[in-house]
Structure formats: structure tokens, C-alpha cells
Amino acid sequence: MVKVIIPAPLRRYAQEQESLDLEGQTVQEILANLIGTYGDLKKHLYTEEGKLRNFVNVYVNDEDIRHLQQENTPITEGVIVSIVPSIAGG
């Protein structure tokens, strides 16, 4: 089980949950399970072609998966997966 942190702008698509515990061996599996739980998140995380959107960053602990093995990044017990979308308020 790993903890997935849902950021504030996306919480309305996840029944206002701040985080949830999910199973998965890779980032891809974790995100698939996340979308399986909250289907409305899908279009906000993925393009119609099934690519992760460019304004949604995914981190495993403090590392951006773009600098690891993208969605194939392996997940080990106890890591924290964070979704960090861009915000612009000021």
C-alpha cells in the first residue's frame, strides 16, 4: 500500500479526499487504481490519447517521475505518490 496525495484543485473529482491508500507495483498501476476509484479524475490526469497531462506532475517521494522511469517508475512499500498540478492564484 502507498499513500497517494490528491491536490486541492483535483479534490472535487475525488469526493474531497486529501489522500488515499492504493495498491500497485508502478506509478501507472497506482494511477490506474486511482482512476478506478474516482473515474472523474481520468480526464484531468490523462489526455484523450492516454498520455499523462503536461500540467500535472507526479512525484514519488520528492522526485518527479519525468526524471525517474516515467509511469513505469517502480513503487516500493511506504513511498508517497504526490500529484502536483500547476496553480496560478496570486
Binding site: P7, N54, I87, A88
Partner: protein
């Protein structure tokens, strides 16, 4: 310019007294205070973030502060934009901010740029400053500030906020990553609500703006470890800070090894704003004014739906309106409710200012339910029909 010839900078007797607590710090001292005095900082935006950071930069003795803003002070700004006061409501923010800065520290120079920052003027305005602080409130201007900083070779001290959460970092400093390395593309318009729509805790920009001011001062002094390469995330409800690693993207179109963006572009276009407007217009959602709506409310055979959030409904409502929040309509549950209520009736939808109701009508139109948008929302109702309904 960040390492100026300090031989030409002198501290006055007033300076020694004013900056005494800095001068005592070995990390600042006379040398550091002279650096601050020789420095120039451009604050883009004098709103939630710009207010606290400009106050502290002025107090710290930054020799020249540039302020860019084209907006006027609105009463609803005062909950967080602490550089402005009640007496400035309706007047230009840059004038208000400059007056407050001068009252804190009359010995520094304030440059007023009472214009929107655009691709045409950004390089010209930015070139005269040592560093640039992004205190803007929208995606197009954030990408503009970033690209201008990269093209000018200036550090970009970044902060942004959403409801109870904030982000801060330093972009394009000493070969560090830029904003586009972090977020290559902006989200589509409308996905992330603005502060006016989504609300924001008034104190939040204080926290993030002060982080930005701290980073600016550290860069000028050359002390400490900056946020370069680290994205600071702040959650005010949990009172928790987290940090994530940022790396420069060698493929970055602006700061990468082979940049493709070598001059400023059309940032409205880049952020999809004209396209979204065109789509909205193509949907041709009919509109009604609040006065026309008021004349219709007594008729039978109409239904008025309010798509704001329940806490906004508590602030005030148009008589006879039924609350079905936009989020319910977007997730589908609300669509059935609207269908049932609107069966055989004329459907009108309103929100605070007209944006969310237009979105609701777009979603409903895709499901075959058609209605009319109330232009200007409940705020227009308050101004033009019934002032006992609070405007907020």
C-alpha cells in the same frame, strides 16, 4: 548587476539607524545593506502576493522597487492585499502600493508601471532590474514572466496560491530550472478556478509572498541556500511544508540546450484562452440581464438554478432560486435534477459572476438540456436589482 561596485554606495546616518538590526547580523552587515541599497527588484502584480513582499522589500531597504499592475483596488481585495487600504478603493493599485511603500521607507525609489505586462513591454520593463518577482494571478502572465526572465537572464522568484495551499521556488537562477521545466504546458482554461471563483484564505498569500521576499533578499545578499531546484509546497490547513526536487529540462523550449522559444510569444494563445472563448461562443449560450430576469421571476413556467457552492448560497440568494452546485452538474448527478426541475419550463442559470453558470449550461447542452445564462450573476443582481442581496 547583482554584484555591483559597492564603492559608490554609501549608507546615510538615517540608514545606519533604520537598518541597525540588519547591520548587527554578520550575514548582512554594512556590506550586505549596501548590496540591498544597490539592488533593484521588479514586482509583477501588487495583489495578494505582491502586497506583503513589496512591504518587506521596502522595509529591508531594497534601493529600487518596480511595481507593475493595471488594476484598481476593489474592496474584496482588502481581505488579503495588505498593502492597500480602504481609502484606496477604486484607485490604481500601483499608486496605492507606492504610497504605502513611501510611508514605510521614503528613502528608496519606487518605479510605477501602470500597465498590464505584455509580450510587447515585458523585456523593456524587466531589463532594468536585477531580479523579477512573479506575484501575478493567471497562467498567461506567469509564462510571460518566466520567458522574459530567461531571455533577460534574470532570476524569477515564483509564488502561487490556491485556496489554502501555496507553491514557491526560484526559477532560472544559476543554471537552475525554469517554470516551463516544471510545467511545460498550462492547464486548459477553467480547470483551476481563480481566487474570485474558488476563494482563498487571506493569510495564505502573506506566507507565500514573504517566502518570495526572503528568497529575493537572499539572492541579493548571496547568503544561505535558495529554493533553486526545490519546489516548496505549503498547506495552511495542515500547517505543513513539503519540498519536491526540480531539475532543469535539457529539452526545455526556453531554457533548454536548444531553445525554440527565442522571443516572447502570444501567451493568451499559448494558454488556450482565445480557443476557449471561441468554443464558448460556438456553443451560443443565450444570455439574459438581471433586470430582464427580475421581470420574469413572477411568471409561472420558469425555473432559476443557482450553481454556486452551498456556502455562497448562504451569503445571499435570488428569491425562488434552487441550488445545484456546478460540481454536481459536472459529475452528472445534478444533470438529472436539472432535467426534472426544468421539465416543460424555461430554464435560467446563475452563479456569482456568470462564468460557472456558462460552464454549467455547456455541460447541460451536451446532455440535451438547454437554458439561458444570467449575465453578471448574483453580483449584477445586487448592483442592479436588489442591493439587500450582498455583493461579495
Amino acid at each position: 548587476m547583482l554584484n555591483p561596485d559597492l564603492a559608490t554606495i554609501n549608507l546615510t546616518p538615517d540608514d545606519y539607524e533604520r537598518y541597525s538590526r540588519h547591520l548587527i547580523l554578520p550575514e548582512v552587515g554594512v556590506h550586505g545593506q549596501k548590496k540591498l541599497k544597490a539592488a533593484s527588484v521588479l514586482c509583477v502584480g501588487t495583489g495578494g502576493l505582491g502586497s506583503p513582499l513589496a512591504l518587506y522589500l521596502a522595509a529591508a531597504g531594497i534601493g529600487r522597487i518596480g511595481l507593475v499592475d493595471f488594476d484598481v483596488v476593489d474592496r474584496s481585495n482588502l481581505q488579503r492585499q495588505i498593502i492597500h487600504g480602504e481609502e484606496w478603493v477604486g484607485k490604481p493599485k500601483v499608486q496605492s502600493a507606492a504610497a504605502r511603500i513611501k510611508s514605510i521607507n521614503p528613502y528608496i525609489q519606487v518605479d510605477i508601471h501602470e500597465v498590464p505586462l505584455t509580450s510587447e513591454n515585458a523585456l523593456d520593463i524587466g531589463k532594468d532590474y536585477d531580479l523579477i518577482i512573479d506575484g501575478t494571478d493567471n497562467f498567461p502572465t506567469r509564462y510571460l514572466v518566466n520567458d522574459a526572465c530567461v531571455l533577460l537572464g534574470k532570476p524569477n522568484v515564483y509564488g502561487s496560491i490556491f485556496r489554502f495551499e501555496g507553491q514557491a521556488t526560484v526559477f532560472h537562477y544559476e543554471d537552475g530550472p525554469c517554470y516551463r521545466c516544471l510545467y511545460p504546458e498550462p492547464p486548459p482554461p477553467g480547470l483551476v478556478p481563480s481566487c474570485a471563483e474558488g476563494g482563498v484564505l487571506g493569510i495564505l498569500p502573506g506566507m507565500i509572498g514573504v517566502i518570495q521576499a526572503t528568497e529575493a533578499v537572499k539572492i541579493i545578499l548571496g547568503v544561505g541556500t535558495t529554493l533553486k531546484g526545490r519546489l516548496m509546497l505549503y498547506d495552511s490547513l495542515k500547517m505543513q511544508f513539503r519540498e519536491l526536487k526540480l531539475r532543469r529540462n535539457p529539452e526545455c523550449p526556453v531554457c533548454g540546450d536548444h531553445p525554440t522559444v527565442t522571443k516572447l510569444i502570444d501567451y493568451q494563445e499559448f494558454c488556450g484562452i482565445p480557443q476557449a472563448k471561441a468554443e464558448e461562443e460556438a456553443m451560443a449560450i443565450p444570455e439574459i440581464t438581471v433586470k430582464e430576469l427580475a421581470a420574469k421571476l413572477d411568471q409561472i413556467g420558469i425555473v432559476l438554478i443557482d450553481v454556486r457552492n452551498p456556502n455562497e448560497f448562504d451569503i445571499g440568494r435570488i428569491p425562488g432560486s434552487v441550488l445545484i452546485p456546478l460540481s454536481e452538474i459536472e459529475d452528472g448527478q445534478g444533470v438529472a435534477k436539472v432535467k426534472e426541475l426544468a421539465d416543460g419550463k424555461e430554464l435560467y442559470i446563475h452563479c456569482k459572476m456568470g462564468g460557472r453558470s456558462a460552464k454549467a449550461l455547456q455541460v447541460l447542452a451536451e446532455k440535451g438540456v438547454h437554458g439561458t445564462n444570467v449575465k453578471g450573476g448574483i453580483n449584477a443582481w445586487s448592483e442592479e436589482v436588489d442591493s439587500s442581496v450582498p455583493k461579495y
